[in-house]
């Protein structure tokens, strides 16, 4: 240890202060919080951050008092509804006059002459009540002339197929890698796997459907209530549809019932509501029904993935070639690319979209990643099995990040891998049932955006508000907004009122890609730290000490010169109180978080039913803000992955051109009976100071882990999601007869 070395402590600084010792003034140096540095307090000093905090909007949500967009009721409000085309594609002719003549109907019109995809809205009506709007829809006289459609790959790529877009139904492929190098690398491999893996189109299934309520009655101002992931993001589209300027439109998103990536803009429901409101000069309420939610509000891209991969006898992956088709409807589709996450020495890949007359895909929780992860985790597992190598060990030899290596050990321990008999070879199909364990890993970039502006205000009666025009999708934004300020000012959680979901408040980004927390929380902390500085200065003037010597704690303020209660401290402020604005601090945002999962399944060998018994997840997130919310995000993500693995699949009849899964009876999502034991853990070995969101990473690896667990249980490899009992049973019979 060198005496010359200046000691550094993050977020702290040394100041000189004078103390009276035995009647003498003694100057000494003390460590104090650096009020200029907007760092969080050290983890061990936090009363709130990093604990399990109850969500501040809990009581409103549990009693039904929370007002969602669909609950907004305004004087003179019209209810609008849309008619969806039941065919893959059609010419449409609508006589709206009978609808307009029906009771209470004030607006009815055709939207398109020719549809582009199955389920496209073709007409909209608005009437005084929801029932009268339904009546008006039924009164429309509609003639469809079905046009040739392409609803699956075969139809889309057939010779002479009707074109979804002018440049053909097969998009231009993107390719990279050197074919010669990859071929040479395959020659070095001790084991090579060549297989096809597919994933279906998945729906978001937000419990609250897409929709908007517009409060416009003529004049210059409008309020737009919208179920959206971007409070600020809807204002521009709404203004355009209403014929107003952006500054005249206010977006409100108080509570919203799930988005998962599907609710970024004003969306079609919102523009229609605005157009009708503009015409009628009355408030308009337009929520999609569940069918529209399935057919015309986006989805997760389906994919067909042909993969060839090889490893040497030491379990190093040397070569991979992949050919991926993305099925994103009339949109291009997304796929994260192979070799996903794992390092393979030589790789060749080709990606192309196949276009069909189906609703476009859109962002959905880690867009493109679960698709790639399912194929990659499967092929990794197949190579390990081919070498007779432990699946955990094989992964560790092909992952670079130290976080994944330690996570794999811990997750293996928690799922019971080390005592599991099938570590190097799968179980058999003999008997009644088989138990297996599988693994999967993911990583997500996260990273914050510098747009958030957070206003913290303390009034001289002691009340505190923290506000920003961000939104809480249910993930807990409101709670950490209050908690960060409460932590810094020494207040209880309920001593700070968090306000969000209003575009008149400070700027904020849309909530996507797990970026809300790393974008918003640093700005909240900046504001909180500034406010602490303001209060410390006020107290320091009162006590006659340095501001840094003032400590804010649940009792109020204390300093070498004495104590003040919180109310006494705030009473020192001017009558208008004190306000500060915080902005983004790059030091407080983490980029890149690792996640590792394991699943244990029980396969019923007589029925083919797969029961997931336990799922373990270890998730990095930098500094955890609210463990209760983080763990809930992780469990919810694992549930969506389980559901993707076993149950969910968008189905259409390509011959009849109709939807077969546009309701919650035919499109099944996991319910309470499907839920395994969850071990959802924040990775406390991640000691980074910044924060990250975890909406995306834990949704990625679960499906691969479950499919791998089925193989591990009974040696049947299922390469096409969902793993329904018919597929499992067929595979079991095939293995029995081989």
């Amino acid at each position: 240890m060198s005496f010359m070395q200046e000691e550094k402590r993050p977020g702290k600084k040394k100041i000189k202060t004078t103390r009276v010792v035995n009647g003498l003034d003694v100057e000494e140096e003390v460590w104090v919080d650096d009020l200029e540095a907007p760092l969080f307090k050290p983890r061990e000093e936090c009363r709130l951050l990093g604990t399990r905090m109850k969500r501040v909007d809990g009581p409103a949500k549990l009693t039904g008092a929370a007002e969602y967009t669909s609950d907004v009721r305004l004087e003179g409000m019209l209810y609008a509804k849309v008619l969806l085309c039941p065919f893959g594609r059609a010419k449409v002719k609508i006589d709206a006059a009978p609808a307009l003549a029906s009771k209470g109907c004030v607006h009815a019109r055709q939207l398109v002459d020719e549809t582009k995809y199955l389920g496209q809205p073709v007409a909209v009506v608005a009437a005084a009540t929801p029932e009268l709007a339904e009546d008006a829809l039924r009164a429309l006289v509609v003639e469809y002339e079905p046009l040739p459609w392409v609803l699956d790959r075969g139809q889309a790529l057939a010779e002479g197929a009707p074109e979804v877009r002018s440049r053909g139904n097969l998009g231009r492929p993107t390719e990279d890698g050197d074919a010669g190098e990859v071929e040479a690398a395959f020659a070095q491999c001790a084991v090579v796997v060549e297989q096809e893996y597919s994933v279906p189109v998945q729906h978001h299934v937000c419990l609250e459907t897409h929709g908007t309520v517009v409060d416009y009655r003529g004049g210059e101002d409008a309020i737009v209530y919208c179920s959206t992931q971007s409070t600020h993001g809807i204002v521009g589209d709404a203004a355009e549809s209403l014929g107003l300027r952006k500054a005249q439109v206010r977006g409100i998103v108080q509570h919203m019932g799930g988005g998962f990536g599907s609710k970024f803009g004003l969306e079609r429901a919102g523009t229609l509501a605005c157009e009708i409101s503009r015409e009628q000069k009355r408030p308009v309420h337009l929520m999609w029904n569940r069918e529209a939610e399935f057919l015309t509000s986006g989805n997760r891209t389906g994919a067909w993935q042909r993969v060839k991969a090889g490893a040497n006898k030491d379990g190093r992956m040397l070569a991979m070639s992949s050919d991926v088709e993305r099925y994103g409807g009339i949109g291009g589709g997304s796929h994260a690319g192979l070799p996903y996450l794992y390092s393979v020495e030589k790789s060749l890949r080709k990606h192309a979209s196949v276009y069909m007359h189906l609703d476009t895909n859109c962002a959905m929780r880690a867009p493109g990643h679960p698709q790639a992860s399912f194929a990659m985790e499967s092929v990794v597992d197949e190579l390990a099995a081919g070498l007779g190598m432990d699946a955990v060990e094989f992964r560790k030899r092909n992952l670079n990040s130290p976080a994944h290596l330690r996570q794999l050990d811990r997750v293996a321990e928690l799922i019971g891998w080390n005592e599991h008999p099938n570590r190097t070879a799968p179980g058999s199909v003999d008997g009644f049932e088989a138990v297996g364990i599988g693994f999967g890993c993911s990583r997500w970039g996260v990273g914050g955006s510098p747009v958030c502006q957070v206003d913290v205000r303390v009034m001289n009666d002691g009340s505190v508000t923290a506000e920003v025009g961000s939104q809480d999708l249910g993930t807990g934004t409101r709670t950490y907004l209050a908690a960060i300020v409460a932590e810094e000012l020494g207040r209880p959680l309920d001593g700070v009122q968090a306000r969000l979901g209003d575009s008149r408040m400070g700027n904020a980004n849309g909530s996507g890609g797990s970026t809300t927390t790393p974008s918003l929380a640093p700005a909240v902390q900046d504001a909180a730290r500034q406010m602490r500085g303001v209060l410390s200065v006020a107290a320091a003037e009162h006590f006659g000490c340095a501001p840094e010597e003032v400590v804010l704690d649940p009792d109020g303020a204390r300093a070498p010169g004495g104590k003040l209660t919180w109310l006494e401290l705030c009473a020192l402020l001017p009558p208008e109180g004190a306000s500060v604005r915080g902005t983004w601090q790059s030091d407080l945002a983490v980029s890149g978080v690792a996640c590792t999962q394991a699943a244990r399944v029980r396969v019923d060998l007589l029925t083919g039913r797969v029961k997931v018994e336990k799922m373990v997840c270890l998730q990095e997130c930098g500094r955890p803000l609210n463990r209760l919310a983080l763990e809930s995000q992780i469990r919810g993500a694992m549930t969506q992955a389980l559901s993707y693995a076993l149950l969910e699949e968008r189905r259409v009849d390509p011959q009849l051109g109709i939807a077969l899964s546009a309701d919650l009876e035919t499109y099944k999502i996991a319910g309470s009976l499907e839920i395994p034991e969850f071990v959802a853990l924040v990775d406390d070995d991640d000691l980074r100071e910044g924060v990250a969101g975890v909406g995306e990473p834990p949704v990625i690896p679960g499906a691969g882990a479950i499919a791998n667990a089925v193989f591990n249980a009974c040696g049947v490899r299922l390469r096409h999601l969902p793993l329904t009992p018919d597929k499992v049973l067929n595979a079991i019979e095939e293995r029995k007869s081989s």
């Binding site: 399990r52 109850k54 969500r55 909007d57 809990g58 009581p59 949500k61 549990l62 009693t63 039904g64 008092a65 929370a66 007002e67 969602y68 669909s70 609950d71 009721r73 009540t129 929801p130 029932e131 978001h204 299934v205 937000c206 419990l207 609250e208 459907t209 509570h255 919203m256 019932g257 799930g258 998962f260 929520m287 029904n289 569940r290 999708l473 249910g474 993930t475 807990g476 209760l628 919310a629 763990e631 809930s632 995000q633 469990r635 919810g636 993500a637 694992m638 549930t639 969506q640 309701d663 919650l664 009876e665 999502i669 319910g671 309470s672 009976l673 839920i675 034991e677 969850f678």
Partner: protein
């Protein structure tokens, strides 16, 4: 339009509606009780679950004429002036995220607990099998009930 007399959350109410009006619309549009949500409109998601004479029922499937003279309890009627203990443990355990399914789940669980004050985990699972949740993964909802009734019972 006909006038219907129904007891809603302990209060006698008279409401005008066509006979085939859905109870869900009467609650939300006529009575201003928007706690019950419309998630699917066809009895699959359970977001509109209310108690009809104490039994969990999808309010989107029942026409108003069928509830004449009967008793409805919605999520707004579960709590008195303070939170019901069930609502309190749901918050503490983390059994709520976006909250769109929550009113229906609270009502389903309240009905279970009224029937069986110490349900097994399997019974709790069964009681909300008709309530879909897309955010939380259900586990904390089950845990909340266990914390409430003081049982640590594993699945049967």
């Amino acid at each position: 339009m006909t006038t219907w007399n129904v007891r809603v959350n302990g209060r006698e109410v008279s409401v005008e509606a066509p006979p085939m009006a859905r109870v869900l619309d009467v609650l939300r549009e006529s009575l201003g009780l928007t706690g019950s949500k419309e998630g699917c409109g066809e009895g699959e998601c359970g977001s509109c679950t209310v108690l009809l004479d104490g039994r969990p029922t999808c309010a989107c499937l029942v026409p108003i004429f069928q509830v004449e003279g009967r008793e409805l309890c919605t999520v707004e009627g579960v709590a008195g002036t303070e939170l019901d203990p069930l609502q309190r443990v749901m918050i503490e355990a983390g059994g709520v995220q976006c909250g769109a399914c929550t009113p229906g789940i609270v009502v389903s669980l309240r009905a279970l607990l009224d029937r069986d004050p110490r349900p097994t985990r399997a019974a709790v699972r069964e009681s909300i099998a008709g309530n879909l949740c897309r955010c939380t993964g259900y586990e904390r909802i089950l845990r909340a009930v266990e914390e409430l009734v003081g049982s640590e019972e594993a699945d049967a």
